[in-house]
Amino acid sequence: MSTTNLETAVGNQPLKRVVIDPVTRVEGHGKVTLLLDEDNRVQQARLHIVEFRGFEKFIQGRPYWEVPIVVQRLCGICPVSHQLAAGKAIDQIVGAQLSPAATKLRRLLHWGQVLQSHALHFFHLASPDLLFGFDSEVQKRNIFGVIAEHPTVALEGVQIRRYGQEIIKAISGKKIHGVVVMPGGMNKAMKPEEVKTLAAGIGEIVGFCVKAVALAKRLYQEHRNRHEAFGRIESPFLGLIGPDGELELYDGGIRVKEADGSRFVDQYPCNDYMHLVREQVKNWSYMKFPYLIDKGPEYGWYRVGPLARLNNCDRITTPLAEAERVGFLAAHQGLPQGALAYHWARMIEALHCAEAIREMLGDPDLMSDDLVRIGERHFEGIGVIEAPRGTLFHHYEVNDEGLVTRANLIVSTTSNNQAMNESIRRVAIDRLNGANLTPELLNEIEVAIRAYDPCLSCATHAVGRMPLVVELEAADGTRVGAISRDEAGTIAIG
């Protein structure tokens, strides 16, 4: 059965409605609705992001220099990526060619961001499913369960995240929502003692990341058939790429690969993104559905994020991560496509970040005071960056007084919107069709979402055992039954 056919149920047969609300172990508030026929076969499956962000609107009328600091509040997990993407856009507005010091500080900051975010995503939010099994006891399927049964894994995950946050704090002043990006550069250099302290700790973090890759690979390989097929869809992959085809997280051109590995575009200029990607609105979701214009909305949706980046790049510039990338691709026939392959790719990227940080910490430019360069004013700026979850577009227009008149953001989650919907439909078809619904089965829907994204709508904070009610209703709205979970994790059926 095609997954796309499950976007909207056809016919007028009576259907039961099942709602997973909220999706747990993700930041932000997401909801999944399933419509089932009398034989519990899935007729419709949708992931809804139920919050309205509105940043594009309320940034209008504000001065351009505020933008990076305001819009980073979109998210509590990857605010650095938003600050940097907006900062890159504002650099264009002030006509800046960044100094080497500012560029290196930003790159280091972003590696810290991706490192801590990937650790949070994998260890805190996803690993309980992978370590204990999707259908394991709900009471232990959380980070506290990991701490209890796999303390070394948990501790190293926490340490990786902490280190990434220390990088962010050293550069931006705070671990979350720091203030460092200025139009045309950065507002401070690093102090020698900060560099020294961080350099002293990075060797251990690289080691932890090597083990993290091994863990992600082992978990994937142990259940190879199931994990490779789980939530598997095929799609093009979009992401930034360096000038020589290398993995690039901060700045580059856009590459899109078809599902079969052929190149759709390469080194596509970021400032022309609006001629490559368009967003479709659907009446059942607050989140838009981006697609490649030339392919159209039906066939043009694509994926971004760690899997897309590893499938797109020709190499990784750091040796340990490059060796792992080669092994990752060699383990698959063709491009890896399964949703759970994201986690393996994610840990390879974490290793790359740790290696890149180690190298950068030896660069004296980090302590240079040549931090801000301003050029000729422009009235439009576009910043594109690879956020932890994928390609992030920030686009602003300003008037001659310096006030924002238009803003467009395509965040990573949005780019993966269709893909997440397709993956939960795949899971619904493969695992839920005709089955009696249980909390464990419904968790498999969430496992697919977590593979892509741990922060659906940015900046609401719900982690762990959220209260959950799954209600079964007949098509006429009559309540058939329910499964609920309270804050203590107690499951009630009936």
Binding site: P63, I69, M182, N187
Partner: protein, 246 residues
């Protein structure tokens, strides 16, 4: 010259005075901190923010407009008065549109520091979300009325130091707004300059420069490491052109 004979007490501590002092003048010189926003030692009393409310002779009075009379006993740092100051501060917040997390004056702002100093945890009152226009017409400066607390300091500085009369408070009641004195009502049509004293006295983020924004990193801002009640009367604008020494 101070005269002990003219002295007053603030919370029981002797504070010497000079002839003509207000209560806050004497406190300021003695290093005793009385919370304030519209008061500035260079520009004389205004009495609008009411944050410097103290109790003297059984009455609530504004320390910035009340003459220090010999032997006066002033209560300032009491739970009752702090509660009043907290409510006044909360009213200032709901009267504007203050978004501290992204404001470039965060860490430098007297209103924010005062709120922290008073232990403000919430708005208490319902926000009014007033509509206040931003004036970005000037080449060098931006007037963000959302953050203006109508302390009148820029008005006084422009009148008394710069001699330009760039600003005034127009409108009435809750419609009161800081207005540039020009036929168009826009800042660009005044003689205002970023070099003016008036450009440097805003205690909040209502008057912002259009350059070097967010240049001061976290950790080097005035109130990052020390609360306003310990910093006392030192101000963010002390190092600005014409500013008083810390």
């Amino acid at each position: 010259m101070t005269d002990q004979a003219l002295g007053i007490t603030i919370d029981g501590a002797a504070v010497p005075c000079q002839a003509g002092d207000t209560v806050i003048d004497a406190a300021h010189r003695a290093g005793v901190y009385i919370p304030h926003l519209c008061f500035h030692p260079e520009f004389g009393p205004h009495g609008s923010c009411r944050l410097c409310m103290v109790k003297a002779g059984g009455r609530y009075v504004a320390a910035c407009t009340t003459p220090a009379t010999p032997g006066m006993s002033v209560e300032s740092d009491t739970a009752e008065i702090k509660e009043l100051r907290l409510r006044i501060t909360q009213m200032l917040f709901v009267d504007g549109n203050h978004f501290c997390p992204a404001c470039e004056q965060s860490g430098q702002c007297q209103l924010q520091a005062t709120a922290y100093g008073l232990g403000m945890q919430d708005l208490h009152f319902s926000p009014s979300y007033p509509k206040k226009a931003v004036d970005a017409s000037h080449d060098e400066m931006l007037l963000d009325r959302d953050r203006c607390i109508q302390c009148n300091l820029c008005v006084r500085a422009s009148d008394r130091v710069d001699g330009k009369h760039v600003f005034s408070l127009g409108g009435r009641g809750i419609e009161t707004r800081l207005m540039p004195n020009s036929a168009s009502g826009l800042l660009r049509d005044t003689e205002f300059s970023a070099e003016d004293r008036a450009a440097h006295v805003c205690p909040v983020g209502a008057l912002l420069f259009k350059h070097d924004n967010y240049a001061r990193p976290i950790g080097r801002r005035l109130y990052d490491r020390t609360s306003i009640d310990r910093i006392g009367n030192r101000r963010a604008d002390d190092a600005a052109p014409g500013g008083s020494a810390p």
